[in-house]
Symmetry: D2
Subunit: 307 residues, 4 copies
């Protein structure tokens, strides 16, 4: 097995990848950007890729959403939740008073803004393409400190000046494992399904109609995110995560409804939820209810009297 991830070594994405059961004996290949990691998977250079999808403080990762919704098709096969907690990494010997610049990925800065203002108010923040790159720049002497995962310290020969840095308690980042399009993993009872729906014309009730397809079948949405399609202000696609598995009858019918209603819909995977929350299935929407209703419909179409 070969895994692509958003590198360099020492990123949170690498930590997420390491938490996968299959990652143990596998090869881990860092890529400079999310599109680069996904293109490697599309080209068959690797067997899977791990990228960040959303963060409970910073929100969804636009590049990931757009690549998955609009790039060549890939499919989510599992998800990983990783608590967000930063360390302040410095060259050995550096102390708080010495820090003039602190670097990180732009996502890290707002999650530590208050901590930074309190502990190193005079330090200037600098953008890096990843937290690990920020650590590399500290090791290189370009910057004085980096916000990164504590696991990055050893890799770059840096010391940890402070740990467990975060403005918001219990912040979590959600990562997804991607494969080339494939049959989804078997239902577990605690599944999530992801789609991207493209609304064709700009009509008032479009989103309402979509949500209705889910609500009518008692399917809870866990994330809805609009993204521009690039065709002008006002032209959106909707990224939607919801409870259930494509093999569930209620999910299958909702997806067919969606397919009929919108201009286009892309299936992005059914997979086990990292939080293992089991959905409440509403009366009349169990698989057995759909089976019974289909049998009844066949009977009345054929003119068999009711039992």
């Amino acid at each position: 097995m070969r895994y692509a991830y958003l590198g360099p070594q020492g990123t949170f994405t690498e930590a997420a990848l390491r938490s996968l059961p299959d990652a143990a004996g596998a090869e881990h290949l860092p890529y400079a950007t999310v599109p680069a990691a996904l293109d490697a998977l599309r080209r068959d250079d690797v067997d899977a890729a791990v990228v960040a999808l959303e963060n409970s403080v910073e929100g969804s990762v636009p590049t990931t959403l757009d690549e998955l919704a609009m790039g060549d098709p890939l499919q989510i096969v599992s998800e990983i939740h990783l608590p967000v907690s930063f360390a302040l990494l410095v060259r050995p010997g550096t102390d708080f008073g010495d820090i003039k610049t602190v670097a990180s990925h732009p996502h890290a800065q707002p999650q530590c803004r208050r901590w930074l203002a309190e502990h190193i108010p005079d330090a200037e923040w600098r953008a890096a393409t990843s937290n690990a790159e920020a650590a590399q720049h500290v090791a290189d002497g370009h910057y004085d400190a980096a916000l990164a995962g504590s696991f990055a310290a050893a890799r770059y020969g840096l010391g940890i000046l402070a740990e467990d840095i975060h403005d918001v308690a219990d912040a979590v980042t959600r990562f997804v494992e991607l494969r080339r399009p494939c049959a989804p993993p078997a239902p577990t009872g605690t599944d999530r399904t992801t789609v991207a729906a493209f609304i064709g014309e700009d009509h008032p009730g479009a989103l309402l109609e979509i949500l209705n397809e889910f609500a009518m079948r008692g399917i809870n949405l866990t994330l809805i995110q609009s993204r521009p399609t690039g065709a002008g202000l006002g032209s959106y696609l909707f990224w939607m995560d919801f409870e259930g598995h494509v093999e569930d009858a209620r999910v299958g019918e909702a997806l067919m409804g969606l397919r009929r209603v919108v201009a286009d819909v892309r299936f992005l995977g059914s997979y086990c939820r990292a939080d293992q929350i089991r959905p409440e299935i509403r009366r009349g929407t169990h698989d057995a209810d759909f089976t019974e209703a289909a049998a009844w419909l066949t009977a009345i179409r054929q003119g068999h009297p009711e039992p």
Copy 2:
């Protein structure tokens, strides 16, 4: 072929029956009440029955709705629309000034109320179990005049004192032809489907949920009528007529949705509309759309990449 109808001879129901293509060489058997006619069909004494379902002035016929929704199952296979127009039937020699009593079925009276007030204001109205029975009572000398179809005059040896009597122009009565449960007639493109839905618990959104199953698939309701189930004030069933045929994919899916949502639903037939109105089929709800969506669902469940 043997047909049951609400008798005696000379009723509007008999006139409706005579308009059926298959009625020409068939035997026509009058029954005293709607339940009696339907029971004859259930017992196999006849092959079909014709009864009134609704009238554009007086509304639906409760006995018919209740018998079909709650009695042993029967099925609507065709419908007949008959313009409503009464004649004032009298014994030969009777003139307006001689009329002290005028009899009719209770449904006829309100449709001629204004005409009666204008032309024979002093005559007392008397209830009969059918207009034809009223004519019979006039022939017998019990009453002076009857409101009935003009075709009843010859049968009872009466004269027509006035014709084309009705307070409301273009009033129509809708009759249905019933059979024992059977495969519905083939779709014609101008079909109507009838069901009776029993709502289990009294919850605020029950009816809304039902209507949503139709609205979401662009299916127009042409009649919705609540009837008590007999289980107390507030316990209702809904009689629903709507556009389309049970063989249509959108109707099939709506019916399965209904089946899953409500306590019980009875299919009462798909048949050609008498008014031959062709429904507008909304984008995304043609049979082909359902077929395409089902094929797509199968493909993503099996992991085939999108074409």
Copy 3:
């Protein structure tokens, strides 16, 4: 006080009227038909009228619904629920074996059909304009027996051959007290409101839109009944009873929504429910919620910062 009711003396309607607190010292005037009783009220000949509205077995009373929805405006100010139970009234000396004909209002017959089939299977049923009129006809010798309230026996000098006759246990008839249009009685917390809504064009979502106005504000419908407007098959009005009082903010806003959505709506009264059921008021729909929201809207329109 002068009360009109559907006579003659001895009807269930008279019994309902007698149960009203204000009826004790009042004058009770019987009228031959529901329209006659209501016209007397419209003409100011009486101060109030009592008529039947619906029955838990037979359903709504079409004449009452149509008169109130389409005749000159009147208003419901209270309702009465009366258990339905018939007695078999005969001339003294008559026994079961002597009964060849049994008369009643057409509504009574189906409620006793099974009992009649079991106890006097050979008797023919005859329609009367009221149960009390049927009793009168028995006293006159026209018919052998009448189905009527046991209270009618004394009034017509008849004996009671059987009592407590009904096919369905716990059957109830709902009567309403009507006045000329007036300010509704004060809210009691267990109120019901009645309207008639006329849908203009025949569009698929019309009824759904109406129901939505209620559902969105957590207002339960207790009765919905379609009636033809007389303008042809497919043209309906909807009679709707629902929880709450016109003075309730949620009801007021729903009514305004209805008014804006439909071709026409007639307010038919807010009044205390006979069953005294207290509605569950959904979060966000108490009067205080509306008051708070209106204050907030005023503040943001005027540019006052949020507190």
Copy 4:
């Protein structure tokens, strides 16, 4: 007048600010970050601020949405649409072959990815906190080229090596002008209103209920964007832009409905649309319809008969 904007000088935001009618004689103060510009406005250091809200390619600007939805209240009073088009700025004498590094704000890079891959495939991209800062770094000699507005060239003494760079034609960025909370500008007929709605509990129909408040009154949403509230994955607020002005009756009632339904809602302004699109107002939702309905409600509450 003093305006804050996301600096340094030469950003697209400054260009947007310069397009405002009132900006001509005003003082323009650059700030290093969006929060810094908004805090200056909150502290009364400036009278207004201009920041980017969304881009037709890159989507909404998370920092702006979060600051406006969750920071101390500010209000949108106007919007500016600016076509997106980059120039490649270099030090005089630099040619395509000399470019080893190209810097820009992270938002600019994906909008020029294809162009970069085609014209300077070997150049490495570097993140800057703004495009103007990237230009500054080029002037300083840190990087070889910057993607920025062509207007930035003169300010930093740079040359324009290529112009009109963008992967997607007709890309537009939407900026907003902010003030401290105030009475909204008067309606123009082509207005937009913005709110942030916080959904309290995670229940399936929450978003559907919100959308219903708008759909029922024929109000079109032009943007809906979920953002995490920071309280954990699955806890979101919804940023919503929609047609109409808070002074419109239909908008006022929808906002009150929203206020009652959700845990919290923040009004963020009503202002003239930059694209001047005039909404279609649905039958029954004009101001006059609300006025008429309110008058009707008052009349029936007071017991005045219908006219």
